[in-house]
Amino acid sequence: MARAISTRRKWIVTVIAWAIGLAIFFPVLWTILTSFKTEGEAIASPPSFLFFDWTLENYQTVQERSDYLRHFWNSVVLSLGSTLCGLIIAVPAAWSMAFVPGRFTKDILMWMLSTKMLPAVGVLMPIYLLCLNAGLLDTKVALIFVLMMINLPIIVWMLFTYFREIPGDILEAARMDGATMRSEIIHVLVPMAVPGIASTLLLNIILAWNEAFWTLNLTTVNAAPLTQFIASYSSPEGLFYAKLSAASTMAIAPILILGWFSQKQLVRGLTFGAVK
């Protein structure tokens, strides 16, 4: 039915969609392109799009001048550390809520969600002072803890919704077949839970990597991750576009790639399952 029209329509939609998609992506693309230009070409008028002398010099300068690798390492430690600690605490909790729901399970889940609604700025002073007095300002330990706490409700919720999807019948069937508790967990439960746990891990690494309020307020030098590293370019140094672009590209590349793998988790994790 109406084949010809639908093919033409498909082409029109294709052109519009690509144009809009590229427009939205353009700031990212432009940053990546600029990172390979010389400073002169970065501010050239008219701007050069693809035909310029590609150079890796900016990447080298950024690393030498502001020690990208140290900040990168801090970002990795903070986001991985906070996510893993969160998982260790959240997996048993989500597990028991999903498989042994009690009278208060729903209330507990809703209450956990409510802690996520607490604006960071409402608890900034005490956390800042506690860190200051304990000598934990600008340390990774403090930040791992804070990042873990702000993401813990999301971790519990995501895991809970994944675990709920594991059918209880399968567990009972395994038990009927004479599986021991141990083999039930290792051979039946874990394989079914791994995708959910991996998704949760992925989304939380992204959230922790990009979190800026706490990292900007609680770190200066030693524990400073990439958010802080980039913020240092807000000084006149940011006017060196090629270097700013190289630094930016290096800060967003890992998470951009991870992010593309976790689109579905994004919907699930950030809406707490309210949109399916």
Partner: protein
């Protein structure tokens, strides 16, 4: 099926998460409330007399409070307006069959993964800069005078930057909701020869209303806390033009080292966020069956 034994085990497994979150919520919040009643400056830490509502009064009657509240509302409202309308249109577009759907989807989602400090700096310098920015170049090509975005229209500029970051989120959620639309109903409407506009208003939009509400509520929670974008672009200025509530508390507490008044501001932010949160929690709670 659950025995007393497993119930007890479940409670033990749950307790670390519950205790930690309870502590995380109660301890700092109680401290903030306590600090908000003290005259407490880090420049003068030994002496912290009780002042009751004094800090609240000081914070609320300060010259920056109302501008900050109004800016907060503009930022939340402006970004919501752009992302919801844009998100619905984009979701409708991406839901159509076309070539390279997967790739375009990836392009559209990308801004959400760009860390806020990066997107703010890139927009500020490479696009909105009145001398070397791309927008200035485009304006010159068409014979217009370039706009100095962050000093002439600072609030709108921040709204544009933040909207760019949140448009993917709205699009993704709305697209997910759109894909769960009952195709039979659409086909029936098609058979009846319903025009696209009426299909949109009588079938699609009602179906999306729930997703739109969720997007509004979740984004509001995050948008009330916009910080990094202001921190690296305008520092709240010029004047108070881009100071929102979160940034004002930061200025009082961290820059001004006035813990008392910063705490009072923090509590006001908590109250504001809670008003939104109550609606959000109701929506999600309704959806949760245990």
């Amino acid at each position: 099926m659950a025995t007393t034994h497993t119930r007890a085990a479940a409670k033990i497994m749950m307790s670390p998460a519950v205790i930690l979150l309870l502590g995380w919520m109660i301890v700092p919040l109680a401290m903030t409330i306590y600090f908000s009643t003290l005259s407490y400056s880090l420049y003068n830490p030994g002496d912290t007399p009780f002042v009751g509502w004094g800090n609240y009064q000081y914070f609320v009657t300060g010259p920056s409070f109302w501008p900050a509240m109004i800016n907060t509302l503009w930022m939340v409202g402006g970004v919501l307006l752009i992302t919801i309308i844009g998100g619905v249109l984009l979701a409708l577009l991406l839901d159509q069959p076309f070539f390279g759907q997967g790739i375009v989807r990836i392009l559209v989602i990308a801004p959400f993964f760009v860390m806020p400090t990066v997107s703010a700096l890139v927009w500020k310098n490479m696009f909105m800069n009145p001398v070397n920015g791309l927008f200035a170049y485009i304006a010159k090509v068409f014979g217009f005078a370039p706009v100095d975005f962050l000093s002439e229209i600072p609030l709108l500029s921040i709204i544009i930057i933040v909207a760019w970051q949140w448009l993917p989120f709205a699009t993704l959620i709305l697209l997910t909701a759109l894909q769960s639309l009952d195709t039979e109903q659409m086909e029936a409407a098609e058979m009846d020869g319903a025009p696209a506009v009426s299909k949109f208003f009588s079938i699609i939009l009602p179906h999306l209303s729930r997703a739109i509400t969720v997007v509004v509520l979740i984004q509001t929670i995050f948008l009330l806390g916009i910080f990094a974008e202001i921190f690296v672009t305008t520092n709240g200025g010029p004047g108070n033009a881009t100071t929102n509530l979160t940034y004002l508390v930061y200025l009082e507490a961290i820059v001004g080292q006035d813990i008392g008044s910063g705490s009072a501001g923090g509590i006001i932010a908590v109250v504001l966020a809670n008003i939104v949160a109550i609606f959000l929690m109701r929506m999600i709670g309704k959806n949760l069956d245990i």
